[in-house]
Structure formats: structure tokens, C-alpha cells
């Protein structure tokens, strides 16, 4: 019985069966016919007459075709062969009905394409591991999940912890590179183990090593691939080259490989890395500027590391109150993916619904066709085809349909992905990892196959179960549809409606939420404002005596430019810029405990900033030209701060100090109160904010640090109509003005305030656009489904309607009859959909702003929309029914 000895013989048979099929078939036919002939001869020999013997022989044989079919089933390669035959047959059948085929393939392509596109995004962003060595071991250590850490804490933590095999810190910095071209460069200062922690080796040269971080003299610098290409045109001999950044000398020791990006969730524009030297800051627990990266020791759990870090921080907090708020140890991948995870999973669910709706649609298209093919199937059953055989053939047909849809879907996904990534912009992390890779293709193929089986199974089961008698009856008289099939079609339409409603509800919530986000009053008027960063650090204008004069002459010249209404300067632009905090004391109040000292966002401005931004002054005055030097120190506060600390009095005239630990504080008089503005996070609630005049701000006037070496210019274009205003056109003139003062001063980040705000709402817009697109597709598919079912019903009921009209039914009554049939099903679908949407809405909680996920208006609105579309979709075929001529109708069949 050894099956192995059969292999050569089987192989020969398989080849013969596949390649000389016609001969094999002829022989089989002759063989079976010979049997019948011999059997008939036997019966003639037994005394039967010739034709009776022949008939009896054929009856005993049970049909020549049937016997042949059973032989075909057992032949080696039979499955392959019948499948090939089924596919050929399916393609011929589909090609004969191009209308049906095209509509079905398009519906499937939309579903499969959208699913593939979203899956590609999920694959690239969520599933693919980060491109570092053993990325699961990398963690980020911060205060409260997002706030940076002070140097002294970093050093204490590093000394006391035992959970990590590497523990380093990084600090964001930027500087001005001088030389042939003066430009601003952003980078990270890192301790020596940060880059090596990633396991990514430099393309050229070396990584940092212990001893690199002395912080004095010539320092090493490592370039990103992009910066190396841009500044050094990719020259291989770049190692050893000297680079002057903000007046300090650096030597290029390495170049990172193309695409290297670390840590991905922050400092995305970093292009160079230099060693972090803490120097005298080592003892500081105040300046929180470090983000810590560590690698868990093998076998150490995140929970254990978190517990130990919390304990260490709690001890330090006892020793130095107010310096060690909660410490969080977060996997790097979580930081990178962040809250986009929920959005992507919701989108994946939504797109799955679209696919289901497409399936339901094609399923009832197939059902409608199944009735037309009833006779074909009955004939084949009568000729002896087995039901399993018919089922397999019908399923092959739907799988062929689905694969065609999948092929077109992949093409759509390719196009869609490009749009999608462009639409997402910076709001999607790891966008470069998104693409149609092998995994996506495999998933798409599997989805297509499952889809084909999914929508094909039901119609195929029904068809292959057809009863001959039923077929004869149905074929003979155009009766009302069989009750069973009509119920299935109703169930399909109701499910489609329900799924579409869930999607519409999601899209409705996204739209309302986005509208709420757009309706947020940023406090200022962004239209018509252009901003640009002017960096003096490292240039000839940087010395303390020169910088203020440079800014002043820049402002004077910019204000004189044609088309400029006003201009001013601020250290950090709201929404886009950094936010620094400053602790303050209020005069005449008891000194709070260190942990309770109030804090406010710290801005440094030139006079005219509020007017330029149209940030209304509620009380008092703007900082003035006279607020300089030895004049009394002044400050403008925002409404939030004023109300919070002087709830029942006027803040103007009160005094605050920004050196809470000093024995003799320097007092600043509040001279104005401005409206609250959006500081950084677009939808964050208002927070305290103070504006200090640049000309009185010692750190900005005198400090040498790069962090105070730049200001942001804001310019309001003079436009008669704010909507048609194009402040971006002012950019060349502004660059010229600054260039004419000093060619070496870089002007960067030139961007309109409107673009800044668009960027801040990019992610909700991304979610919104996709959800709305899916919902629209779902709505169209559902409408097509309802339309299809009703027109089918009308065509099946032609006879009945003819009789009704002949008996005097008015066109209105006929329309009502048909439409009511459709709307009954739709109502059930809407009701189920509402329940489903309420359940699914919980997933949306994190994604919406300013609207409750159970918002009744939204639900009522989308239900009404769907109902209206369904009404139209059933009205069109219903109207056709009224045009039925009773005489013709009753004569049909």
C-alpha cells in the first residue's frame, strides 16, 4: 500500500491528464460507451429486443456523462483541472454580462482597495517594528509621560537605577552654521550611549564614545544623511571636516545612514548630533530640558522598571520638594505611535464595514442573477451534475470576481496611499514606513478570497439547492418572488443599511468634532499673518550690544514695506513654537510652598505684537517703546492669569516677580490684560501666560545661549479683504530687508499663521476626511443596494402590479406600495444601525472634541440622511412600476 511507489505512475497520469486531456477524454468516453454496448448485447442475448435492451443498459449505467464525471473526480490532478475549467467557465460567464461584472468589480475594488490602503498604514505605523536593534527594549523616561527632566535628576536616577543596560539623555538644540552658506540647523545633544542604544551603526565614521562629552574645545559632530548630502554634497571625505555652529568649532566624526530617525516622536527636524555636556548644569533641578532614553536589561519587565523609577523619584522628592513629579517609563514604540493608534484602528474598522457593505451588495446582485440562472442550474442538475460540483463552480465564479476586484483594488490602494500620506502630513508618525509591501499584498489576496467566498456562498447555496419543480414553476410563471429568497435579500439590505448608518454616525461625529476644533477661537486672528524666525545666534549681530538694535531696525524696515500693515517680534510663536514656563510670586501674598509656586507660559515680545496678531487688549496697555532699560519693569498678563489670581479686582497695577527664590524679588507691574490665546496644544484649555518686553528681558538681552538667540517675526499684511489675503507673498521682500541689514542672518520657518493652524489640526482632519470618504462610499453602496432590491422586486411583480393597475390602483398607490416595501427594510436597518453606532461610539471617545459621542443631533441627522437616500433609491424603481401597461404586464411570461 506504500503510496510512495505510486509516485512515478501518478506523476505520469497527472501529466497525461493535464496535457493530453482530449485524448484521455475520448478514451474514457469510448470505454464507458463500450460498457453500455456490451451490456445491451448481453440483454439482447437474454432475449430483449434491440432498442429496449439499449434503453435498459443506459438506465442501469446511470448516465454516461455522470459516470465520466465521477471518473474525472478521482483522476490525479482532477482538482486542478476542474478548477481550471471552472475558472475558464467563470470568466466566460462574467464576460457575457459586462454590466453586472463591471459594477460588481468596482464595488469590490472600492472595498478591497480601501481596506488595503488602511491596512498598509496600520502595517507601516503600528505593526512594523521600529528600525532599531531590539526595539522592544527601548524606553523613554519623562515626567508625567511628557515633560522633560532636569540634569541633576537625570544623574541621580542613572546612578540609582539597576533596571537598564543603557541610560542616556538627549536635549534639543539649534544653531547657526556659518561658512559659505549661513543656515540654521536643528539637532540633538546626546550622551554617548544614546546613538549606540539604537544599534544603528554610522554609515561613515564612528558613533559617540565615552569622553566625547567634555564640552570644551573642538567637539565631535555626527551628521544625518540628509544634511551630509545638502551641505557636503555626499562627499566621502567629509570626516575630519570642521564645522562652525553658532561660533563653536565641531569636527565631523560620522554620518548616519539614510532614513535614520531617532527618537521619532520628538525633534523630527534634528539633522546633527553632538555630545551633551552638562557642565555646571549638573546640579540643576530647575531647568527641565532632558529627555531620557534607556534600554531595559534583558529579562526586566517594564513594570519593575517603572516601580523602581517611581521609588527613586519619591525619595528625591522628599529630599528636594517640588523637583520630582511622577516619573513615567514608556516604551519608545508607544511614544512614537501615540494616540494615532486609536484613530487608525477606528479607520480600519470603518474600512472593514465598507468592505462588508460591498460584499452584501455583490451578494444580492448575485442573488438577483441567480434567479435568472435558475434554469441553467436545473438543467445541469438534471443532466447529473452533483450539487457539490455546482456549488464549487458558483464559488469559483465569485472568487474570480473578488480577485478581479482585488487586483483593481490594489491599484486604487496605490493611488489612495499617496493621497493619504500627503493628507496626513506630519500628523502620522513613520509615514516613510507606509507602503504596499509583500505582507499587504498577501493580506489583500486573502481578503479578496474570503470576500469572494463570503458574498458567493449564500447565493451559491441557494442556487445549488434549487429544486427542479420549483424551477419549472418559477420559470413558467413570473410569479412573486419566492418568500425565502426575498427574505435573504431584505436581510442583506437591512445589514447594509445598518453598517452604513454606523459609518455615517462615525463620520458625523468626526465632522462635528472637526467643526468644533475649527471653531476654537485662537484668541488672535490668524488670517493675513506671516511669521518667520530670525536667528542672530552665531552671527555678527549676536553680541549683547547689537542684537536689540538689529531687531529694531528690522522692524522699522519691515513696517515700511508696501503691503505690510504692522509687524512685531515674539520669542516663540503660539501654536507652533516652544512654550517655556516661569514661576512667579504675587506681591503682598504669603510665599507658597515650593511645589505650589504658580507658573505661567513665558513670552517675550516687542511693542505692537498684540495689534499685529489682533489679540485684543482687554484692559490697560501694550508694552511700549519706553519700556526699556531702567524704566520700571512691566508685564502684560492674559485674562486667565488675571481672573485666577485677582478674581475680584483689576489686575492692572498689581505686581509680580519672576525670581521666587530671591530674597529681594524684582517686581514687575502688570500694565495690560490680553485675551487668552492658544498657546501650543490646539484644543487645550486656556492657561496662565505672561508677556515681557524684550528690551527689559535680561536673559534675551545679555545671555549667550542659543536658546535666546532667535526671535519670531510676525507680519500682518494690509488687505482690504482678510479672506483674499495672501501674506505669503510678503516673504521675498522680508528676506530682502533682513539680507540688506546683514546677509549672514538666516531667515527660516517662513510660514503663514493659517498654515500653522492647519498643521495643528492635521490629524483630526485626516481622520475626518477618511471617515467621511468611507461613509460616502458606504452611503452610495447602500443606495445602490436598495435601488437594486426594489427594482428587482418591481420586475418580479410586473404581473401583480399590472393586475392592480387594471383593477384601478392609482399610480400613487403603486408607488406607495413599492416604496413602503423598501422603507420597511431600511427602517429595520436604521434601527439596528443606531444601536450598533451607539456601541461603536465608545471607540470614538478619544477622537472627538467638543461633541459627545452619543450626540443625539448627529444620530438623528445621519439617520434622516440615510432615510432620505433610501427613499430616493426606492422611489426611482417605484415610479417605473407606475408606467407598467397592464395589458402588456399581464401578457408577459
Amino acid at each position: 500500500m506504500s503510496p510512495f511507489t505510486q509516485i512515478p505512475s501518478r506523476l505520469r497520469s497527472a501529466l497525461r491528464n493535464l496535457f493530453t486531456r482530449s485524448r484521455v477524454e475520448r478514451e474514457l468516453d469510448a470505454d464507458v460507451r463500450a460498457y453500455a454496448d456490451l451490456l445491451a448485447d448481453e440483454k439482447v442475448g437474454a432475449g430483449m429486443d434491440h432498442s429496449a435492451a439499449r434503453r435498459a443498459a443506459l438506465v442501469e449505467l446511470g448516465g454516461i456523462e455522470r459516470v465520466k464525471d465521477e471518473v474525472r473526480e478521482v483522476r490525479t490532478g482532477a482538482l486542478l483541472e476542474t478548477t481550471a475549467r471552472d475558472i475558464r467557465y467563470a470568466i466566460r460567464t462574467l464576460a457575457r454580462r459586462p454590466g453586472f461584472t463591471i459594477v460588481a468589480v468596482i464595488a469590490l475594488a472600492l472595498g478591497i482597495g480601501a481596506t488595503s490602503a488602511i491596512f498598509s498604514v496600520v502595517n507601516g505605523v503600528l505593526l512594523r517594528p521600529l528600525p532599531y536593534r531590539d526595539p522592544d527594549g527601548l524606553v523613554v523616561i519623562l515626567h508625567e509621560g511628557r515633560n522633560p527632566v532636569a540634569p541633576a535628576n537625570y544623574l541621580d536616577w542613572k546612578r540609582q537605577t539597576s533596571m537598564f543596560s543603557a541610560f542616556g539623555a538627549a536635549e534639543y538644540w539649534s544653531g547657526t552654521v556659518t561658512g559659505d552658506i549661513t543656515e540654521r540647523v536643528h539637532g540633538l545633544k546626546v550622551t554617548s550611549d544614546v546613538l549606540s542604544m539604537t544599534g544603528v551603526s554610522p554609515l561613515l565614521g564612528r558613533s559617540f564614545r565615552a569622553g566625547d562629552d567634555v564640552g570644551t574645545g573642538d567637539q565631535p559632530i555626527i551628521l544625518s544623511w540628509g544634511y551630509w548630502q545638502r551641505r557636503f554634497a555626499g562627499r566621502r571625505d567629509v570626516l575630519g571636516t570642521s564645522l562652525i555652529v553658532s561660533g563653536s568649532s565641531y569636527t565631523v566624526v560620522g554620518v548616519m545612514p539614510r532614513g535614520f530617525d531617532f527618537p521619532m516622536f520628538w525633534a523630527g527636524n534634528a539633522e546633527v548630533w553632538t555630545p551633551l555636556a552638562l557642565g555646571e548644569r549638573e546640579t540643576s533641578r530647575q531647568s527641565q530640558s532632558l529627555r531620557l532614553f534607556a534600554r531595559l536589561r534583558p529579562g526586566t519587565s517594564l513594570q519593575a522598571a517603572q516601580a523602581q523609577m517611581s521609588a527613586i523619584a519619591a525619595n528625591l522628592e522628599r529630599a528636594f520638594p517640588g523637583t520630582n513629579p511622577a516619573v513615567t517609563v514608556t516604551p519608545l514604540s508607544t511614544m512614537v505611535v501615540g494616540d494615532v493608534r486609536t484613530a487608525l484602528l477606528v479607520l480600519l474598522g470603518a474600512v472593514g464595514f465598507v468592505l462588508l457593505i460591498a460584499c452584501a451588495n455583490v451578494a444580492h446582485m448575485l442573488l438577483a442573477r441567480a434567479s435568472a440562472r435558475h434554469r441553467e442550474m436545473t438543467v445541469r442538475l438534471a443532466l447529473g451534475a452533483s450539487r457539490a460540483r455546482l456549488l464549487r463552480q458558483l464559488l469559483t465564479e465569485s472568487v474570480v470576481l473578488a480577485l478581479a476586484g482585488g487586483a483593481l483594488g490594489i491599484t486604487l490602494a496605490r493611488l489612495g496611499l499617496r493621497t493619504l500620506v500627503a493628507l496626513a502630513g506630519a500628523s502620522l508618525p513613520r509615514a516613510d514606513a507606509i507602503g504596499l509591501d509583500f505582507k499587504v499584498l498577501v493580506v489583500t489576496t486573502v481578503i479578496s478570497l474570503l470576500t469572494g467566498l463570503g458574498f458567493g456562498l449564500l447565493p451559491a447555496l441557494r442556487v445549488s439547492r434549487s429544486e427542479m419543480s420549483e424551477a419549472l414553476r418559477d420559470g413558467a410563471r413570473g410569479s412573486t418572488d419566492g418568500a425565502g429568497r426575498s427574505r435573504i435579500r431584505s436581510v442583506l439590505v437591512a445589514s447594509e443599511t445598518a453598517l452604513a448608518l454606523v459609518l455615517l454616525a462615525g463620520a458625523g461625529l468626526a465632522i462635528r468634532s472637526f467643526a468644533a476644533l475649527r471653531a476654537i477661537d485662537p484668541g488672535f486672528d490668524p488670517r493675513g499673518v506671516l511669521s518667520a524666525v530670525i536667528s542672530l545666534y552665531g552671527t555678527a549681530e549676536a553680541p549683547p550690544g547689537r542684537r536689540e538694535a538689529f531687531y529694531t531696525s528690522t522692524l522699522e524696515r519691515v513696517r515700511r514695506l508696501p503691503g505690510v500693515e504692522s509687524a512685531s517680534l515674539i520669542n516663540h510663536l503660539p501654536v507652533a513654537g516652544d512654550i517655556w514656563g516661569l514661576h512667579f510670586l504675587i506681591e503682598g501674598r504669603p510665599r507658597p510652598r515650593p511645589a505650589d509656586v504658580p507658573r505661567a507660559t513665558f513670552r517675550v515680545v516687542y511693542p505692537g505684537y498684540f495689534a499685529t496678531m489682533r489679540l485684543p487688549l482687554l484692559r490697560g496697555r501694550d508694552v511700549a517703546e519706553t519700556d526699556r532699560g531702567n524704566a520700571p519693569r512691566v508685564v502684560v498678563v492674559n485674562d486667565f492669569l488675571a481672573r485666577r489670581y485677582w478674581p475680584n479686582e483689576d489686575a492692572v497695577g498689581k505686581r509680580v516677580a519672576f525670581d521666587p527664590s530671591a530674597a529681594e524679588p524684582t517686581w514687575f507691574t502688570v500694565v495690560g490684560v490680553v485675551k487668552n490665546d492658544v498657546q501650543s496644544d490646539w484644543s487645550a484649555p486656556p492657561d496662565a501666560e505672561v508677556f515681557l518686553p524684550y528690551r527689559q528681558e535680561q536673559s534675551y538681552l545679555e545671555s549667550d545661549g542659543g536658546h535666546v538667540g532667535f526671535m519670531t517675526l510676525v507680519v500682518r499684511a494690509s488687505c482690504s479683504d482678510a479672506r483674499a489675503c495672501n501674506p505669503a507673498s510678503l516673504a521675498p521682500a522680508i528676506r530682502d530687508v533682513i539680507g540688506s541689514l546683514d546677509r549672514s542672518v538666516p531667515v527660516t520657518d517662513v510660514v503663514t499663521m493659517e498654515d500653522v493652524i492647519t498643521g495643528a489640526t492635521a490629524r483630526p482632519r485626516f481622520t475626518l476626511v477618511l471617515l467621511a470618504t468611507f461613509a460616502a462610499v458606504a452611503l452610495v453602496l447602500a443606495a445602490v443596494g436598495i435601488y437594486g432590491v426594489i427594482s428587482y422586486a418591481v420586475s418580479r411583480r410586473t404581473h401583480e402590479i399590472g393586475v392592480r393597475v387594471a383593477l384601478g390602483a392609482s399610480p400613487g398607490a403603486v408607488v406607495r406600495l413599492i416604496v413602503a416595501q423598501g422603507m420597511r427594510v431600511v427602517t429595520v436597518g436604521v434601527a439596528i444601525g443606531l444601536v450598533g453606532a451607539l456601541i461603536a461610539s465608545r471607540l470614538m471617545t478619544q477622537l472627538v472634541y467638543g461633541v459627545r459621542v452619543t450626540d443625539p443631533t448627529t444620530y438623528a441627522g445621519v439617520a434622516a440622511l440615510l432615510g432620505a437616500v433610501a427613499l430616493v433609491a426606492s422611489y426611482i424603481p417605484a415610479r417605473r412600476a407606475t408606467r407598467i401597461d397592464p395589458l402588456v404586464a399581464m401578457r408577459t411570461d
Binding site: 469510448a30 470505454d31 463500450a34 456490451l38 448485447d41 442501469e60 446511470g62 455522470r66 459516470v67
Partner: protein, 110 residues
């Protein structure tokens, strides 16, 4: 009847066909008649079972076939055991006897 019996005893049909061809080549109807004869009419092999079995066994290399003339001069396909087919017959015969003895014991047990 024959169909049901074939289902009852998987592999019986193969053994019977092999056995019926042990004495010489036969065409399809001949095989059916010989099986009937050697089982004294207990097994009637219908074409719907016979032909798939013949083709399957031929593809397994146990049978070969050739076209020839029947006793009453009809052109028919004659099936013949190959060396592998004889080995298969021996193997299945031994196996069958073993099972028959075992079942016999089982049925005698009280």
C-alpha cells in the same frame, strides 16, 4: 445495494477488482460480471463505482489497459494486472485474512 456495500467496506472493491483480474485481462463489464460471479452474487458493482476505481487503480500503477475486441467483436478497453498490481493483491489478501481472522475472534468472544 452494491454502492452501500462498497461504502461499508472501504478497500473491498479494490481487492475484488484485483482478484477478478488475477486470472487474466477483462473489459469493464467483464470485471463487473467476474466480481458478481466470484462473490456468488453478493456484490454487484455498478459502473458509477467501477469506472472511478479502475481509473484510480490504473493511475496508481496496479493496472494497465489496452484496446481490444470483445468476444462478440465490440471494441473495448481491457484491464490487466501489472507486477505492482499483483504485489498489491498479495498485500491486500494477507491484510484481509488478518482482519477476517481478527473479526472472527472478536465475534466469538463472549
Amino acid at each position: 445495494m452494491a454502492d452501500r456495500q462498497t461504502n461499508l467496506l472501504q478497500g473491498t472493491l479494490d481487492l475484488l477488482i484485483l482478484k477478478s483480474l488475477a486470472l487474466g485481462e477483462l473489459h469493464g463489464l467483464g470485471v463487473a460480471r467476474r466480481v458478481e460471479q466470484i462473490t456468488r452474487g453478493t456484490f454487484q458493482v455498478k459502473p458509477g463505482s467501477l469506472f472511478p476505481a479502475l481509473y484510480r487503480m490504473e493511475e496508481a500503477g496496479w493496472l494497465t489497459s489496452s484496446w481490444g475486441a470483445s468476444e462478440n467483436n465490440r471494441r473495448a478497453k481491457f484491464y490487466k494486472l501489472t507486477a505492482a498490481g499483483r504485489r498489491q493483491l498479495d498485500a491486500e489478501t494477507t491484510e484481509w485474512k488478518r482482519i477476517a481472522v481478527a473479526i472472527g475472534f472478536a465475534l466469538q468472544a463472549t
